[in-house]
Point group: C2
Chain length 528, copies 2
């Protein structure tokens, strides 16, 4: 081939992004294109099975697949996307071990960044409601549920025990329904292992703003699901929604308050901030694309798909945010990228959906396929067969089958895999000669010297020596610029490291705290 390989950059590792990479690997030769995919995790999550993480019936690593194995020819960059520059054809990603920003350039860009949870205008939700979107979310929910049971078991205050045994899920779509079904089964099954909880009441509440749950399905199926869930002990509150939350209760729009220690929210979602900042046409925050999934004004250059895009099918319907649509969008986008490289006719996105499936746990589900409405055991069997078939890799198919088989025989696991946090404000140690940071680095932390000395250098010139009790690094953090000096340990050096976010939070809320650093910087004349 004459030209050097084209650079294809895919942002996002969900169904849309990963399936685009897989299609491109099939369609293009290595000398035609270099494919790069940016995702904050190195794995792809099999969303349909995510609710089963709650009960632990599927092994944690069985609901995810390493992206490197799914797309072996694609270069994976495990970072966050921080900015997209459509004019410069470049994407900035978050720093890794080194506090330096990385810029990736492209010839062709695929934006498939999904959506994020957005609690804007809902006081206390950010602090107290748990989202249910990623694997980390699902695991956090599981751990929180077990923690609540453990605490309820050794708690003497009846009010607190009641709160600990009340679980609220917001959102009655597929995600919320599957989550409450799994949660309800799990709690009721394992509470027998807690001596003091065996005879306690458990409340599992689903709050849905519509007239019924499962708006994605025909009414008879939703009615079936409502009846079944209620029979199993789920309270369903319709025509209401979560308005606010505290650590002690959920507050609904109607004024109803539910004392509880667990709130899981499957709504609402918004476009990721990096998309908000893009100056291009949007529809309710989502990127507006044409029938070939191209971003308006960036034909043959930028495609958007998945949950962050507003897509109309050839039939004029809006494509819903499901896996089956995302994978077809990926195929269309990949075909059009190939057409852009090689020339040839464009594909049009024309998929109208095959049907919908929703698991209700314990041998029951609802399905609407090829116009048929199926509920109960047969639908559950369909659900398991279809999703097992769609799960990539023999390895995982085998493991999940085994997981399901074992789950039929044994009670769900109740080990709480609590992880220790990263620690925000923390100590760090350097030996003589080490650079704490270099001129030009991003300012990600402020340092307070606990013991030892360090030198400040700029452009090769020595500026100052700092010792115990002195601070440095605040200039870049306060002004959001890169480091204007290099700081190097003169001796063994122990510092207190205050990450940018903590520093900002303290400075915003404690004016005296910010003042200390401002005075210090002024005195020094030129900070680091």
């Amino acid at each position: 081939m004459a030209a050097s390989p084209k650079k294809i950059l895919i942002l996002g590792g969900g169904f849309a992004g990963v399936y685009t990479a897989r299609s491109l690997e099939r369609l293009l030769r290595a000398d035609e294109a270099e494919i790069t995919l940016v995702n904050r995790e190195n794995y792809w999550v099999y969303q349909p099975m995510l609710p089963e993480v709650i009960s632990g019936s599927i092994g944690l690593t069985d609901v995810v697949s390493p992206i490197r194995r799914l797309c072996p020819r694609t270069r994976l960059v495990m970072r966050e996307v921080e900015a997209i520059d459509l004019a410069q054809r470049s994407v900035t990603v978050s720093p890794g071990f080194r506090p330096v920003a990385t810029v990736l350039t492209y010839d062709y860009l695929v934006i498939a960044l999904g959506n994020i949870t957005n609690f804007y205008g809902m006081p206390g939700m950010m602090e107290n409601a748990m989202p249910f979107r990623t694997l980390a979310d699902a695991l956090a929910v599981r751990n929180h549920l077990i923690h609540a049971l453990e605490e309820a078991d050794c708690e003497d205050d009846p009010d607190l025990r009641k709160k600990l045994l009340t679980f609220v899920v917001g959102g009655g779509g597929f995600s919320g329904v599957e989550a409450i079904a799994e949660l309800n089964d799990f709690i009721r099954e394992v509470k027998g292992n807690y001596q003091r909880l065996r005879n306690e009441e458990v409340r599992c509440v689903l709050v849905q703003s519509g007239e019924r749950i499962l708006p994605e399905m025909a009414e008879p199926l939703a009615v079936f699901a409502q009846k079944l869930l209620r029979k199993r002990g789920v309270e369903i509150i319709l025509k209401d929604r979560l308005r606010a939350a505290t650590s002690e209760r959920a507050i609904l729009k109607s004024g109803v308050e539910i004392p509880c220690k667990t709130i899981i929210s499957t709504v609402p979602s918004a476009a990721p901030p990096v998309i908000e900042g893009l100056a291009c046409k949007k529809d309710k925050g989502k990127l507006l694309v044409d029938s070939g999934l191209c971003l308006e004004g960036y034909a043959d250059e930028v495609w958007a798909l998945g949950d962050c895009a507003s897509i109309k099918t050839a039939g004029g319907n809006t494509a819903p945010p499901t896996a089956q649509h995302a994978t077809r969008e990926a195929a269309t986008a990949a075909a059009n990228i190939v057409a852009a490289i090689r020339g040839g006719s464009k594909s049009v996105f024309a998929f109208e959906g095959l049907g919908t499936l929703g698991s209700l746990g314990h041998g029951s589900a609802v399905a609407q396929i090829f116009g048929l409405k199926i509920s109960g055991l047969l639908a559950w069997f369909l659900w398991r067969s279809i999703y097992l078939f769609k799960l990539p890799g023999m390895n995982r198919k085998f493991r999940v089958s085994m997981d399901w088989f074992i789950r039929l025989l044994f009670a769900p696991d109740l080990a709480q895999l609590r992880m220790t946090g990263d620690g925000n404000i923390r100590n760090q140690h350097f030996e003589a000669g080490d650079a704490i940071f270099n001129q030009g680095d991003l300012g990600d932390s402020v340092y307070v010297i606990r013991a030892g000395e360090c030198e400040v250098w700029r452009d090769g010139k020595f500026l100052a020596m700092l010792g115990a009790g002195e601070y440095f690094g605040e200039m870049a953090v306060m002004s959001d610029q890169s480091r204007n000096a290099t700081v190097r340990a003169k001796s063994a050096l122990d510092v207190l490291l205050i990450p940018k976010d903590d520093f900002a939070r303290l400075g915003e809320n404690l004016p005296a705290f910010a003042e200390v650093f401002r005075e210090m910087a002024a005195k020094r004349g030129a900070g680091a």
Copy 2:
């Protein structure tokens, strides 16, 4: 029976603690004794299989068992042990959802708290070396390894790439040897999935202070293990030890420095702080017990076993910290507790060990059983058979067999199950009427009001109204006492919550920060 049931309190949920509870459940009727076990996790870790978490070949929940299932009649308290009062026969455990301390009393006490990692006198180790002791540690190590590979793959700086691909393990006992064997196999097997790492050198270094590795075994077996590990690419450094660490390198006692981003330490260990505080006879920090495992001076009342106890066998040897010894110690302690309750003769701890086993991964191990020395495939087969047999529960036996079977067919998983930290300094939201804390609560955080108002009450009397920009809660935190007032939100209230540890760290290192709170408290006269 005449008397009310005796209270037996077991501290620690390792082999020693859990097996004591299991023995007691078998030996005692419910009307004879109430058994309570305190552990910070609700699961028991099957330590022999912990290294396999690194490669992910065994499912995460398969190396742990829920304590409630292992000891169904025992009351589990999932908290940390904070203080033991032998005179008052009481134990204080950490607060749960409510910031209130819980005190448990006992008639009979079993101390089986294991040991902790102690980096005292090793600068930078606490900050930069990863311990390898708990399930959380093992998972953190796995995630860190994958993170290092991901970063190395997208890093252009050759020096940093080299550091990212260097892995140092400190300690050449069983734990260190099994960890480096598993780590080395894992890294070398998965690096083929990283396009830019396929031809890169990987350094896996084991540092051991002795003349050879595996001091627990006969020399020929250690020599076998050394040869095998070296053949597989492990560098073994003998007669040296980790002295210090920075985020960029490991520093050995000899002065040798190894530039690296990964340091795992399997030594040194120390008694938990709560045991350090006990005024009783000790041997190198461990609790000294008699031949019946009773704490000296507390005959028929307090037993100590496992890694936190100094135990001599009837033959005069020191019992090593292994699972086989811990389970026999548990049986002795349980028998002696039964004797103390019912009367009867005491048991003496007389177990001398059956042998030792160490896995070297990839179909090889070393074993020393009944005087025989076995190495290679046969020892590996023995290792797997014995540990699978000892693993409690059909469920887990089946799952681990399957895990091992799948591992023979497929490459190890490389999904990085990164968990988001708890966040230290964080925002919290309250609605009108909520108590932020109550008089008498433990002081665990300081609050800065971001928006809204709250009222301070003491002994039912209104004291003050606080608004945006004001702080409260610092008195109890600074003086380490309980709250001397109740603070209640007057309106919707947003606060910045500074946990005690962060507050203390900032106050210690930033005198101006502490000054702000001291002035404020003085002005207010009586803080909260």
